[in-house]
Symmetry: C2
């Protein structure tokens, strides 16, 4: 790994505390979903989170998963990624900012980070007379076989 791209280290902040402080009730479904997100290394979609949650509590509903994802997104606790040709996929926030490389054969998501690219984006936006609110950089590729 050189200067151009470094893999960010995942962190697992305690969102339960933060939500409680914001006056949001920590219910059974929310606890389960938060645990799933804190545990996982991948980028599951709502249906996948629902399926994992069902294994813990059979009575959980898909609507609640969608509602919870929306809530957590608004609170800044998770990030939503709309990769092409599929439903939104989620990851816990709290780690360093990074972009994504999507393996087109497996759907795997590899995180990377390039300060140089971030900096160039800022320059470009400034030249065009804009302030960047956020950006999306996704590389779609296939494992090089050699």
């Amino acid at each position: 790994m050189t200067k151009t791209a470094t893999k960010p280290v995942p962190r697992k902040p305690d969102y339960e505390k933060a939500l409680r402080k914001a006056g949001i009730r920590i219910t059974r479904p929310r606890k389960i979903i938060l645990n799933i997100l804190g545990e996982t290394e991948d980028h599951p979609d709502a249906l996948e989170i629902f399926r994992r949650a069902e294994q813990i509590d059979k009575s959980i509903s898909l609507s609640t998963v969608y509602r919870t994802m929306k809530l957590l997104e608004e609170m800044g606790a998770i990030h939503r990624h709309a990769f092409e040709g599929g439903p939104s996929r989620f990851e816990q926030a709290g780690g360093d900012h990074h972009d994504h490389l999507i393996d087109m054969d497996t759907g795997d998501v590899i995180e990377f980070r390039s300060d140089r690219i971030e900096q160039l984006q800022q320059e470009i936006a400034r030249q065009l007379g804009y302030d960047i609110v956020h950006h999306r950089l996704e590389l779609y590729g296939r494992r090089r076989k050699d």
Copy 2:
């Protein structure tokens, strides 16, 4: 405009000829849609293309617009952009590759190009053991007021 970002010049290739050669029938709806795409400077969605097409031929249907967009995309004649929180938007292919800055207040799309960023993306993918098939770089921002 400096080295870091240059605005690409739009071109208007003759896709009608290319489609005919690929054994695809040039029908009235397709002719109309192709003209709309060749004419426009913006990035309309399917519904907007449908509305513009209706003004020329009242009998055109939205399904045909969707079908035609899909066909043209598969032929490489147009590019589909799924900007966040909205339907797919289209632009004629054939110009130089570029990325997009989306004005969050107006929905306007500004095209830009940075060879430096393209190059860095290649480096990153190579380091991670991947070949890039394509990528998506979108900057979401607001006009700087000063």
